[in-house]
């Protein structure tokens, strides 16, 4: 029996979280024990009340730590419970739980330590706006300089980690916009990273933190963070 822990960071996701958890509960995967935890990142809406009322397993952060801090809290939970694999899945409904089987099969079969669900390999499902795709492409090129591997969707938050990756992530994980930076960290720590195609949806509710002027800050911050992560961990 493979034990899987799904980490769902949630900030103001009261409208989408029940639907997502219901879909996870309906999953029927052979030889898999599915567990999940919602990390309420100090939401200001009714997310916490929704989680409590519906008895959804959750961890409540009393202050907003951002996506990186929330996901790291999930890795601590996964490490404590000694899961075989941990899955990171957004709480806004962008990542269909039905695609999870693809990630699980891939990580069991191909021996990678971390597998990223990419929306840009088969180019199916929600593809994001033109400018966002352009930004992701730029990050992908910069990332390739550091890790010498092409990652088509470096900002994807739909990922599966094995124990080796969980052991690294629960101790150190980047704070803000962590996905591309964490890939540099993982690669320099000797993890095998690969990608598989997955379908993604448009978010059910809420809005992205990366828009307008924030997107310029995002590009700058992520590039700087990858650069310094590279020099911090290179051997």
């Amino acid at each position: 029996m493979v034990r899987i822990g799904i980490i769902i960071p949630a900030y103001n996701e009261s409208e989408s979280i029940i639907q997502l958890v219901d879909r996870i509960n309906q999953l029927k995967l052979n030889e898999c024990e599915i567990n999940y935890v919602v990390i309420n990142d100090a939401s200001t809406d009714q997310t916490l009340e929704t989680l409590q009322k519906n008895k959804i397993n959750h961890l409540n952060l009393s202050i907003n730590l951002g996506i990186g801090g929330a996901v790291q809290t999930g890795f601590q939970w996964a490490f404590k419970n000694q899961f075989d694999y941990a899955v990171q899945m957004d709480g806004d409904g962008q990542h269909p739980p039905e695609e999870l089987i693809k990630l699980i099969d891939a990580i069991i079969l191909n021996g990678s330590d971390l597998i990223i669900g990419s929306r840009f390999i088969d180019k199916q499902g929600f593809q994001s706006s033109f400018f966002r795709r352009l930004g992701i492409r730029c990050i992908s090129i910069i990332l390739q300089l550091f890790i010498h591997q092409k990652i088509s969707d470096p900002t994807s938050g739909y990922r599966i980690f094995n124990k080796k990756a969980i052991n690294l992530s629960f101790k150190v994980y980047p704070d803000e916009y962590p996905e591309p930076e964490s890939l540099v960290y993982f690669k320099l720590n000797g993890l095998k990273i690969s990608e598989i195609p997955v379908m993604m949806n448009e978010r059910v509710s809420g809005k992205s933190s990366i828009s307008g002027l924030n997107s310029i800050y995002y590009m700058f911050k992520v590039s700087i963070a990858m650069f310094f992560t590279y020099f911090r961990y290179r051997k």
């Binding site: 990390i39 961890l59 409540n60 009393s62 601590q76």
Partner: protein, 121 residues
């Protein structure tokens, strides 16, 4: 003694009293208080002995002595701001760790309470 002498000496002493009262009330930690006290004593020294600034400026080859004061002050402010950024970054990590630990402990406590309530029933 000119008006500017009185103003600068008075201002420096006033600032020193303010720093001391902050430390006394516990609003300013001693480690930061030391920095401000040293800054203050320097200000008082140059307010009392203005001629000394000219001597030091001349020694470094600076012809306009207040310029030396500005350079030193700006450099000091930059270094102190950098130090504060390091302190804030460290505190950010500590707060993050604390919030994560609280979340785990809260979850364990809730699980324990639920188990005890079930056992009572």
């Amino acid at each position: 003694m000119t008006t500017i002498d009185i103003l600068s000496i008075g201002g420096s002493f006033g600032f020193l009293i303010l720093v001391a009262s902050f430390i006394k009330k516990g609003k300013l930690r001693e480690e930061y208080g030391i920095v401000w006290i040293i800054v203050n004593l320097t200000l008082i020294y140059f307010a009392l002995f203005r001629g000394q600034l000219d001597v030091i400026a001349h020694y470094f080859g600076v012809f306009y002595s207040p310029a030396l004061l500005f350079i030193v002050a700006i450099a000091g402010i930059f270094i102190f701001l950098l130090h504060l950024s390091v302190v804030v970054s460290k505190q950010h990590q500590q707060i993050k760790k604390m919030a994560q630990q609280i979340a785990h402990l809260e979850s364990e406590l809730n699980a324990q309470i639920t188990t005890e309530l079930k056992a009572e029933k």
